[in-house]
């Protein structure tokens, strides 16, 4: 209970209904029957030992757009996100039932290799985690190197492209050989984004990527997410409802492991259908 209270207090202190910023959720980007589906989640339940963290979730995440997952602490946002690249399997004792189709393919099919899934579905974590023994450029290129890419010219080009995409190039182009951990917190997080982008994943998962960042760094990352959505499917977990309103086209609201409501961001924030959603987005929690 106190967790929920805290999360509400964190995300909307004065409890206004956050107004989506212009352009972030235009009617054209609303999900429609025609929109391509990146993830088709069917009756997904996830357990940690005996506790059930995700309860019978059905959800279709559209491709080439930004989908936000919101909800109070402990409601299962991270768990749901990590199921999308099979990261939750690394937690001892975690198991799931139900199905996730990625572009029509069963993510958990018997012949599907989790490492291949994670190459196609990149991830950015809540705390930045560059590899401390690698330089800035080595951090960005580590995924390609793992895939056996050796071509110098190609690597250099990818390095620059990825750092430009994550809006870090101008800040680091003269110090590419310095340790990744020598950067500031916000720069490190953008380095991690560049690292995830360097392998050109089809989908990018972000778990509260700005929660440890100052407002300026947060704005940079949000700009970046905006820029990405023309080419990428982005799923972002956020604690911060204003952020969800600013960056996403669609929003899923989770509460106690269940998906309560999913729809265009504008509708979720301005005109929620479910009273629990209404209570959460307006800062009252009922």
């Amino acid at each position: 209970m106190s967790d929920q209270a805290k999360s509400v207090a964190d995300s909307s202190p004065s409890a206004p209904t956050p107004a989506p910023q212009p352009g972030s959720a235009s009617p054209a980007s609303m999900p429609s029957a025609k929109a391509e589906v990146a993830f088709d989640i069917q009756d997904l339940s996830i357990f940690y030992g005996k506790t059930q963290a995700i309860k019978n979730v059905h959800l279709q995440i559209p491709a080439m757009s930004v989908t936000a997952i919101i909800g109070p602490s402990g409601c299962g946002k991270s768990t749901a996100l990590r199921a999308l690249n099979r990261m939750h399997e690394l937690t001892p004792g975690a198991r799931h039932t139900g199905k996730i189709l990625m572009k029509g393919e069963d993510l958990y099919g018997p012949h599907v290799d989790a490492t291949v899934v994670r190459r196609r579905v990149g991830m950015v974590f809540q705390k930045s985690n560059p590899f401390p023994t690698l330089s800035i450029s080595e951090n960005v290129l580590v995924g390609l190197r793992l895939n056996g890419v050796r071509d110098k010219a190609f690597l250099n080009q990818r390095l620059e492209e990825s750092l430009r995409m994550s809006a870090l190039w101008d800040e680091v182009k003269d110090s590419l050989n310095r340790p990744g951990t020598s950067l500031s917190g916000g720069q490190q997080q953008r380095l991690c984004i560049a690292r995830a982008l360097a392998v050109r994943p089809e989908i990018l998962l972000m778990d509260e990527p700005c929660s440890a960042l100052d407002p300026i760094a947060t704005a940079k990352v949000e700009e970046l997410i905006h820029a990405l959505k023309s080419q990428y499917t982005v799923v972002i977990v956020t604690h911060n409802m204003q952020q969800a309103a600013r960056v996403s086209e669609n929003t899923a609201f989770f509460y106690m492991g269940s998906l309560i409501e999913f729809g265009p961001t504008e509708q979720i924030f301005m005109n929620p259908k479910n009273p629990q959603t209404e209570a959460y987005v307006s800062g009252r929690f009922g």
Partner: protein, 325 residues
Amino acid sequence: MITASNPSLPATAADLPEPKRWGDRLFKTITFLSAAMVGVGFLLVAYVLIQGAWPAIKLYGWSFLSNTHWNPVTDNYGALPFIVGTLVTSLIALLIAVPLSVGTAIFLTDLAPLWMRQPLTSVIEMLAAVPSVIWGLWGLFVLMPWLHDVPYTWLNKHFSFIPLFAGPIEGSGACILTAGIIVAIMILPIVTSVSREILRSVPDLQREAAYGLGATRWEVTRIAVLSYARRGLMGAAVLGLGRALGETMAVTMVVGNSPKIHASLLQPGWTLASVIANQFGEASGEIQRSVLYEIGLVLVGVTILVNIGALILIKSIETPGSRRT
């Protein structure tokens, strides 16, 4: 609920009583005394060793370190065979023990099924507590005869043209290599358990970063775990090295106790620590006794030098940026 109207309670932090400082001072004094005791202890040991070794130091000077003879009849003593024996057995022990320990530690922290980790860890910690002399007995009666009959005989038959494996091999199997292997087995548990602690301290977020890029288990171990922990692991190796240099009883039982320098690992040798244990009781005459003190002094010196060298090596491990790409 505390209210300002209660006169016995301070209204602001400025009204709080002065913090009590005597606890701080006591704590500081106790920690200082403990640290000082370690220093005093070391000085005492050094004093006793130097005093005992003084006649030998005066007699032989620096040549003691480079003299390869050990002849109690003519009182011609040198430390070089023992220095070489100590360094070579320790090096063999490290070469065998460190990869095995780190491998075991990786298995225990990242690969073994959950139910297996705790029992295995306990077994390893128990092995670390087995006394040296027990390992020596086991080495003497079980390991050494087998080593002689199988690997040594084979090595000597097929590879005796390599000086390292030249014969003739002792019938008992006592040799430098046997001592190295026994010491390796003895330092395995401690190096493993320290390595395991170090690997456990690698943040899971590092592992997840690698998994998130689609790394396989081995790749995660390589790019996220081992590289993060490499300095700590080298520290674990140095700890093992310290033990190896000073290991006494078990080595005495299997090294062959021969004060000669051979190129071959299959020939008997001797170490600084084991010659002291072996000869001190029956040292005849003042000179021999003093020489053994000096051997002790040399052992301390070698240990310190090797540790300093290892620390410099660890410090100098390249950090990104020190290298051009």
